[in-house]
């Protein structure tokens, strides 16, 4: 549990580096975690070469969901969208450096779900995106 609230998580929750909203943006997607009402919006600016130029997240929720979003956004800047499409839950768990039970996993993966739904241009974010 003390692991669950590792310094990196508390730090990214309290002082996120990438909280905000890009305007203009090329991609915008948002979604809720219906179980707890966590909310994440992600905006991306994408270069002509298909590389993520800049990214921000906004929203509210628990430390796990918000820290994950901050870490995720940080990790994709400068990456081709094609690489972003390949990201899965291991990417998030590696960055968080913790194991999570099924309930908190949903908090941790919300930002990835939102990001991938946006990148794929889907109407709705599905759990399949982050398996």
């Amino acid at each position: 549990m003390d692991d669950l609230y590792r310094e990196v998580i508390i730090e990214h929750y309290k002082n996120p580096g990438y909280r905000g909203h890009l305007d203009p943006h090329d991609i915008l997607f948002e979604d809720n975690n219906p179980l707890c009402g966590d909310h994440i919006e992600i905006t991306l600016q994408v270069g002509d070469n298909g590389v993520v130029k800049d990214a921000r997240f906004d929203g509210h929720g628990c430390a796990i969901s918000q820290a994950s979003a901050d870490l995720l956004v940080e990790s994709i800047i400068g990456k081709p969208l094609e690489d972003v499409k390949q990201l899965n839950k291991d990417h998030i768990l590696e960055m968080l450096g913790i194991d999570l039970g099924p309930v908190r996993l949903k908090c941790a993966l919300l930002s990835l779900k939102v990001l991938k739904a946006g990148v794929y241009g889907l109407g709705e974010a599905s759990d399949d995106l982050v398996d």
């Binding site: 549990m1 179980l35 707890c36 909310h39 509210h60 929720g61 430390a63 796990i64």
Partner: protein
């Protein structure tokens, strides 16, 4: 204190266990589901060991015993809520199914496009969604009794709504978030004066207060066993006989029929008309045992004990800087304290409390519109029952201080 929680705790095997970290279980989540006393666990066990058979129409010993136990439990439950007859108590899976039964059977037979159903802003999703579904299907109209900042219903606004000639008022007796105990008898009296029927969501009240359906004059009243020391998978719908008799069946199948031809059927009499298929027999037996257990303690004693704990909890929570408790003062409130802690998400609060064995719930508690009304996505909720003690409130408070330190 009118009852001794330390003695009562001995009746609940689960309260003797420890969590993985070696902490004692401090169970403050009875609003979600209560723990079960040994008497209930053993009644169900005993049923399976000695009397298991399918009920009704069996003539052998086991079938007769099982039927007697299943129907005997119904008698106990009926008496517990002072129903005039056990035939007015229909077994369902839970409160949600009881409300759906009314929405599917009574409402679909009696409501047409434009008819108004009044709910409140503090409803659980189980008393919102069935009506949303009916609105989409039938074009009924919905309106809502507002919740004031105090956590109480605005009864003046209710009286105004009644002038629009609603057909049904469906409302919670006690909020699962705010803890507000609504003035059910008055709400029902006013509804009847306006010519409307009433459905009471009593999921949170029947376990904690003496509820008398005749004194309330409720038309329908729904509750679940699992919140009142009984098992999951069984609940009840009480209804007035003349209403239940006119209602079409809800689910079709075995046991709900009097006679079946290849192309037609005649429904059974009450309460069987609404109980298709093999029911949850062991659970019904457990439900009856839960009623016996609560009666042995006394509902007045339980209510008084919870009131004392709740008063103490509110007092202690309000001492903590950054804590905001939602809902009315203890005077109008059952054993529920939903709160936020400034700067920390309720999930994080719950997770850190869990380290010390303290079980609270975090989220919107199936009352998302109510949370929206108060402008918050979620709360942490501690709730209290007959087995909770002031010590446990103290442990909750120390736990919250730990959370503050971690996020400080």
């Amino acid at each position: 204190m009118t009852l001794n929680s330390n003695d009562i705790r001995k009746d609940f095997p689960i309260l003797q266990r420890e969590t993985a970290s070696g902490a004692r279980v401090v169970y403050l989540d009875s609003t979600a589901t209560s723990q079960k006393p040994l008497a209930v666990i053993e009644a169900m066990n005993d049923y399976y060991r000695h009397s298991n058979a399918n009920i009704h129409r069996g003539v052998h010993t086991l079938a007769e015993e099982a039927t007697a136990m299943y129907e005997g439990a119904r008698e106990k439950i009926a008496k517990f809520i002072n129903a005039p007859s056990a035939r007015q108590v229909i077994y369902t899976r839970n409160t949600t199914e009881s409300i759906n039964l009314v929405a599917y059977s009574w409402a679909r037979a009696n409501l047409k496009a434009g008819d108004l159903v009044i709910l409140t802003e503090m409803e659980h999703h189980s008393n919102l969604v069935p009506w949303h579904m009916l609105q989409a299907e039938r074009g009924i109209e919905l309106d809502f009794i507002p919740v004031a900042e105090s956590g109480l219903l605005d009864l003046d606004a209710y009286k105004t709504l009644l002038s629009r000639r609603p057909k049904l008022i469906s409302f919670t007796h006690m909020s699962n978030v705010l803890g507000t105990i609504n003035p059910a008898a008055e709400i029902i009296r006013l509804a009847h004066e306006a010519g409307a029927l009433t459905l009471v969501d009593a999921a949170q009240s029947v376990p904690h207060l003496k509820v008398d359906v005749q004194a309330l004059d409720a038309d329908f009243l729904a509750f679940s066993a699992h919140k009142m020391c009984g098992p999951t998978g069984i609940g009840a719908l009480y209804g007035k006989t003349e209403l239940l008799e006119k209602m079409p069946p809800f689910l079709g199948g075995g046991d709900m029929i009097k006679e079946v031809k290849l192309r037609s059927f005649r429904p059974n009499t009450l309460p069987h008309k609404f109980e298709a298929g093999t029911p949850a027999i062991a659970e019904a037996v457990g439900f009856g045992a839960a009623v016996d257990y609560l009666n042995s303690i006394g509902m007045d004693n339980i209510a008084a004990h919870e009131h004392e704990i709740t008063e103490y909890a509110l007092e202690r929570l309000e001492e903590v800087p950054g804590v905001k408790v939602f809902g009315p003062t203890a005077q109008h409130k059952g054993g529920v304290a939903a709160f936020t802690l400034e700067g920390v998400h309720p999930h994080d609060v719950a997770q850190i409390l869990d380290k010390d064995g303290i079980a609270v719930r975090a989220g919107h508690h199936c009352a998302q519109p109510l949370h929206e009304k108060f402008g918050i996505p979620a709360t942490s909720r501690a709730s209290f029952y007959l087995y909770n003690t002031k010590d446990e409130v103290d442990m909750l408070i120390s736990g919250i201080y730990k959370v503050k330190e971690m996020f400080g």
